[in-house]
Symmetry: C2
Subunit: 361 residues, 2 copies
């Protein structure tokens, strides 16, 4: 998208006008709306011509274009995108649904989406669904009502599936949380292998009593990571104690702290903990400390995601890094591709993760 386009947010018709004439026909307080007709009249051309210069068409004589531009400038005209959108049958809005935007994990993903969207002349609407299928549905409904052109959904697969029968025809892609078999384009990482890598690291440090602090079952990634954890342990000839597997319904710091403390209260407590998210892991470290355990000396901790805070805590968190920004960018590009060609076959894509070894394990 290199040439100036009508959808480029930076292509501001008359935006630099500070002249008082911008409000030439203003009645007290309210500035009267100027339409394309006014501009046409002022420039002595037809609305079609104005529309052409607005949209950067080349078939306008330079001199005419200047005249139109001047009229736009002095009148302070702004395109009415409501009208444009109706006419072109697109809203140029993309939805991004997250279960909880207080979770720092989403920040960079969302930035990635936003940046690609803007590059292509779209705006991104961030929607907090609270992982509630009802809320989620109401956002998908925006697609049907043409308030948005497409969506990227990071909600739990469970919530997605609750709607899936009716959702197949809608233009959206799943991000981070997806069911490869469901036929919706997706982008994410290989959660199974990533969890395995985390366990392998702990194993290589000599741990055998390794606990898993997982989130609830609504998330597919949770199941994938759990299988990765179990298989890695089995492959090492270790039969994991089921008491060491915890399932939490929250990713809050508190939840992690609580889980860690209750793990330590067991008879033969684990010497290492793999938490499926950094927020959880940070809580775990706090919980450990509160019951007098040192990290990593008494208990090693590995997290997941590599949020920016992970490097800041004490001790710095060893974790599996997800390429958040790329995840978002890729998802956005997939969606755009689907929008450009509704029948395009957009495949699922898996991006690489990597283990970041810091102080906690």
């Amino acid at each position: 998208m290199s040439r100036p386009s009508p959808h480029d947010p930076h292509h501001l018709a008359g935006a630099s006008s500070n002249s008082p004439s911008s409000r030439s026909r203003a009645s007290p307080g309210v500035s009267k709306d100027i339409s394309i007709d006014d501009v046409a009249e002022q420039a002595g051309v037809s609305v079609a011509t104005v529309s052409r210069v607005l949209n950067g068409h080349s078939n306008v004589r330079a001199e005419t274009r200047e005249r139109v531009l001047a009229a736009i400038e002095t009148s302070g005209y702004r395109v009415n995108e409501l009208a444009r959108n109706l006419r072109t049958a697109e809203s140029r809005l993309l939805l991004t649904m997250v279960p909880n935007f207080g979770n720092p994990f989403y920040a960079d993903i969302v930035r990635g989406i936003d940046s690609v969207a803007r590059q292509h002349g779209y705006f991104m609407l961030l929607c907090d669904t609270g992982a509630d299928p009802g809320r989620e549905r109401s956002y998908f409904e925006m697609l049907r009502r043409r308030r948005a052109d497409g969506a990227i959904c990071l909600d739990p697969a469970a919530a997605q599936q609750a709607l899936s029968e009716e959702l197949h025809t809608l233009p959206w892609v799943a991000c981070c949380e997806f069911d490869a078999d469901v036929g919706v384009p997706y982008v994410g990482i290989d959660n199974y292998r990533a969890a395995g890598d985390a366990v392998l690291h702990l194993l290589s440090r000599g741990h055998t009593r390794i606990a898993l602090i997982n989130s609830g079952d609504g998330y597919l990634y949770a199941q994938q990571r759990e299988r990765g954890y179990q298989d890695a342990l089995h492959n090492a000839g270790i039969a994991p104690d089921p008491r060491w597997r915890m399932h939490l319904d929250s990713l809050d710091y508190e939840a992690g702290a609580f889980a860690a403390a209750s793990l330590m209260a067991q008879a033969d407590p684990p010497t290492a903990i793999f938490a499926v998210s950094d927020t959880l892991a940070i809580g775990v470290i706090k919980g450990l400390r509160s019951v007098g355990k040192r990290v990593p000396d008494d208990v090693a901790v590995v997290g997941f995601d590599d949020i920016s805070l992970a490097a800041q805590i004490d001790p710095p968190l060893t974790t599996i890094a997800q390429p958040m920004r790329e995840l978002g960018e890729t998802a956005a590009r997939q969606l755009l591709k689907r929008l450009a060609n509704r029948s395009a076959n957009v495949p699922g894509v898996l991006l690489p993760h990597r283990l970041i070894v810091r102080g906690s394990a």
Copy 2:
């Protein structure tokens, strides 16, 4: 907004239709769009009547209404909001501009805005400006182009002012970061008094060598808190050492850590630090630890905001709490008020802060 409204996102015309007839006229892959005309025809009424039932008008005979509803249901019709928006000349979209949505401080504010917006049939578009006046301008431009009806801006006052001449006529309100004299409706807290309260607390703990870690001058709140800090000290008969006042261009953990370390490298280092944001304060604690200082024994730390993480770190952070959720809700209500009545006089409002004493000071 108690009666079903055309703008209630939960008022989903025909949303519960799962019948295959929803795609009755579908060609392979693409489902043909159904318009209000189709519904009218199918129900044997005029489009005007369909429109009336869509909008919950009472002047439709019950039997007719049923017929229309049935037609909507079986056809799987969805209102085209692009058309509706053009006709009613509103987009039902509100913008929220934040300088950096990775900053957890904004999470609850944004939730507050979102919740009030949704209650009133608006959607909220979250915009990350990066505190860049250019980006900010492009979002304000959306108002002029009618893509959004109003905006709430949390950007630095400096960025707002860069645009202020042209922005007076636009429907927006400033939140948290505002210049009361500029004539734009605002909501925030009394930063001057809040900073004073933080200092008073440190004073009451016996500290006299109190440092200030502040953000850059672009933020008005920074100046207000700095004055609060200075005056509180002066009133206690203390002349603060200028070397103890630091100005950072970032609110990152890293920045706080670095500032703390360099403070401690001074000849007569302070025994207490007041950081103007919790993220900074968390970094400060880490920085202190990295140079071998204990908190609060060697150095006391007070933060600002009371983000959820504040209670989780070690030691738990003493801080000034802002009523984030209420700030957002109030800002949204102010904006809505202004939208409902363009000439309404919407005053600025200050919400109460409070000191939360935890372990760090």
